[in-house]
Amino acid sequence: MTVQVSSLSTVDSAARLLSSDKTARMLGGGTLLMQRVNAGDPGIRKLVRVDDPALTDISAGGANISIGAGVTMSQLLMKPELEFLHSAARCVGGPAIRNMATLGGNLFARAPYGDLAVLLVALGAEVSLAGQSGSRPVAIERLFERSGSAPPLVRAVNIRRPQGQVMFHKMSRMNPRGPAIVTLAIHLDQSAGRIREARVALGGVADRPCLSMGAARAMGNSRLDDATIERAVTDAMRGIEPRTDAIASGWYREQMVQVHLRRALTQMAGG
């Protein structure tokens, strides 16, 4: 009994262990997982540490970017090439939390945490999974769809350097660090005055970061004008059941998605 620790040297061996033991958890920075260990969570009997340099690789020179899942928020913030991720990475905890918290951990943080993941969803980032060599990368939002089975082990996150407009906004009651009421990330790809593709990702609202399909449809192939913005705001929460927690009710979260989406899109239209 009590919790054991397995230290492994490759991500693939860790993936094998994790898939065979449902009480095992991959230890990233520990900021979320160690709380549960400290509290004696009976669902966690094994921690898996991986000392694989692949996990901390960053390849950010060109248009295709790959970031190892073990990279911390602080490490991201030291890379000028990743400036487009900084506003979201800076929202994660305070300096000490950011020294610990990893990209991979942020992907699996449940609401109201996981602010960086919201931006990654909006940017259409994909993850490459460990232990499944040769398999195609998976869109981040798809990671959260398989409930029940053990979460897959992410090796790295792949992003195309964003073109077009990107907006990230977090609403929290405690500043400068606090859990999200809503986190909003918008990526608009426009050409010739029309929106080719809109990706609106919401955090804090559902259990995991999610895409607002309603907002995307409302804006697709439209000009970013007041009417489009109102359509997007009206449809933003379609199909999404907002969650209630100690910080805010689902009703309030829905209201705030609409208010902040309207404000963000209005600002993007003006800029």
Binding site: M1, T2, V3, A39, G40, P42
Partner: protein, 584 residues
């Protein structure tokens, strides 16, 4: 941020050239704090120290049918599992040390649990992780019972009984009454004469004290057949007395070490950890540490009580409040802890710092299936003052006055009679309002700037009015029935000898103090010496003292003389000795 001292105010009542008092001297403890060396309770470590984790109720309200510890007992590191039956006196109420209220709360639940998180077992293990594992291995068979969470629902007929000591879910105040009453004048007459009636409902939230250091204790056997306890308590002897009672051990055999505490705010008065840590040390012969984790601090240690308030004011068109009525429900949670005392404290505080000729209040201490509430910063007052000061704004709007002007004309002043039938003195509400207004550029006209706490009070405002009681009878004007010393400022005996503690005795505007012995004897000999414990112990209360003849307020300020010979010990002292004298 800026801080200014208004030395110009009350300068004639103050002597400002003292040697050490009034100086911004560095804190004595500050070097320890900034170097991390201040000795908090958890900064004491002992070889072979064991750790406690509790098995807690997952239900709001349930009967305990069976507890199966067979698997937990055999787990690695488990040294001992403590049950309710292991606690020598497994029923207590915190204020039994003051003989206030009846024992109503077990240390470890035996037959039923009355709130989510109530401790049922305490497991002692070599490490916290092992204790956690053993907690997870215990199987408790519960039969869920109906529960009630709303204070107003809880006191309706047919509501589930939360607390078997008070089956109607209401604390019994002195005289067996289910509410603490305040009656001063006749509010109905006041409402009838009023030009405006203003009513409101207010709700105070339950709040966690949230000191950064959690509640905790480390207990260990000491030489000489005693037990030492390193503790985070806010009341060293208060918790020592509680532990002695629960463990049925002489207080002389407990040695408490504490005094350096990482914040309290009222959250470290209940003594949740000390009795179990000491019992663990008694049963194992080893050092035992019991510290609440943060989740327990948030949901199992007691919060500030929630309160629901109804206020009704009758206002004259000139802005005077002529009647104010309160009904309040304090949410005590499943057990009493300190909420009952908060209700009495609050009653003494009503109707706020205003002179109102007709005041009525009915306050209830209500049991619900929620974590027991306890003290917190502003205890018994914070919620009432929120309600009152929200209501004052509505009153000001009703009469068309500025909010501070409305407060100023109703503010209490030196010599005014308060609703609990004692004179006010040493008042400074008016000056505080004037100073804040000056700070914020709130425009007060000279009429309001010239008001003073030391002028305009007393006289008619010092009268105790004829008072309508709940049974419809009328108490004559001037009636006082509690013969304890009048604690209006200046009437309290000053301690010790001649050195003036206020710094400026001779020029003080307040009356001189009577000799200490006099006041003590009056207290001890009072025919109205009826403690809360007397009623709870089934003794009949002595009849109330006959009301003294109506007298001038000045004469009333000195209580009636003692009826018993000087020097006879008061019952209050014997109650304390009940704890201290217990022998093992």
């Amino acid at each position: 941020m800026s801080v200014e001292f208004r030395k110009d105010l009350f300068a004639d009542e103050r002597d400002d050239d003292l040697n050490e008092v009034g100086k911004p001297t560095r804190r004595q403890d500050i070097l320890g704090h900034v170097t991390g060396r201040s000795p908090f309770f958890d900064d004491h470590r002992f070889d072979g120290m064991l750790h406690i984790r509790c098995v807690r109720s997952p239900y709001h309200h349930a009967r305990i049918r069976n507890i199966d510890t067979s698997r937990a007992e055999t787990m690695p590191g488990v040294v001992r599992i403590m049950r309710g039956a292991d606690v020598p006196v497994n029923l207590n109420t915190l204020l039994s040390l003051l003989d206030f209220g009846k024992d109503d709360e077990p240390v470890l639940a035996v037959d039923k649990v009355a709130y989510k998180g109530e401790p049922v077992l305490a497991i002692i293990a070599e490490s916290e992780a092992q204790a956690h594992d053993a907690v997870n291995a215990v199987r408790v068979d519960y039969e869920e019972l109906p529960h009630v969470l709303d204070v107003e629902e809880a006191i309706k007929p047919g509501a589930p009984s939360v607390n078997l000591t008070y089956p109607n879910n209401k604390f019994e105040f002195y005289g067996g009454t289910d509410k603490q009453k305040l009656r001063f004048g006749d509010v109905e007459t006041g409402f009838a004469r009023a030009d405006y009636i203003v009513e409101g409902r207010y709700q105070m939230a339950p709040i966690e004290q949230a000191p950064i250091e959690p509640n905790g204790a480390i207990a260990l056997p000491e030489t000489n057949d005693r037990w030492a306890c390193y503790t985070s308590t806010q009341g060293l002897f208060f918790t020592l007395g509680t532990a002695a009672k629960l463990l049925d051990v002489s207080s002389s055999r407990l040695h408490f070490i504490g005094g350096t505490v990482g914040g309290g705010f009222g959250g470290k008065v209940d003594g949740l950890c000390e009795p179990l840590a000491i019992l663990g040390a008694m049963l194992t012969g080893r050092p035992v540490r019991y510290v609440l984790d943060r989740a327990e601090e948030m949901q199992v240690s007691a919060p500030r009580s929630a309160e629901v308030w109804y206020i009704k004011d009758g206002l004259a068109s000139d802005g005077r409040i002529i009647a104010r009525q309160f009904t309040g429900y304090f949410d005590s949670g499943a057990y009493t802890r300190l909420t009952s005392y908060g209700v009495v404290k609050c009653t003494g505080h009503l109707p706020g710092p205003y002179t109102i000729p007709n005041v009525q209040s009915d306050l209830y201490c209500v049991y619900t299936n929620r974590t027991p509430a306890t003290a917190m910063r502003g205890f018994g007052v914070t919620g009432a003052d929120f309600a009152i000061e929200r209501h004052m704004d509505k009153g000001a709007r009703a009469v068309g006055m500025g909010p501070l002007e409305f407060r100023l004309i109703n503010a209490y002043r030196d010599g005014d009679m308060k609703a609990h039938r004692r004179l006010a003195g040493n008042c400074a509400l008016i000056e505080s309002i004037q100073a804040a207004a000056a700070r914020a550029n709130y425009p007060l006209t000279s009429e309001y700037m010239q008001m003073s706490s030391s002028q305009g009070g007393g006289g008619e405002r010092a009268q105790i009015p004829a008072t309508r009681l709940q049974d419809g009878s009328e108490l004559p004007a001037g009636t006082r029935r509690i013969a304890a010393a009048d604690h209006a400022p200046g009437l309290i005996p000053q301690v010790g000898v001649d050195v003036p503690v206020s710094g400026k005795p001779s020029t003080s505007a307040t009356p001189a103090a009577p000799a200490p012995a006099q006041a003590q004897t009056q207290f001890a000999a009072s025919p109205a010496m009826r403690g809360y414990g007397a009623s709870s112990l089934g003794q009949s209360a002595p009849p109330p003292a006959p009301p003294p003849p109506a007298a001038t307020p000045a004469a009333e300020a000195s209580p009636p003389p003692a009826a018993k010979p000087q020097g006879s010990p008061g019952p209050r002292y014997s109650r304390y000795s009940k704890i201290g004298n217990r022998r093992r």
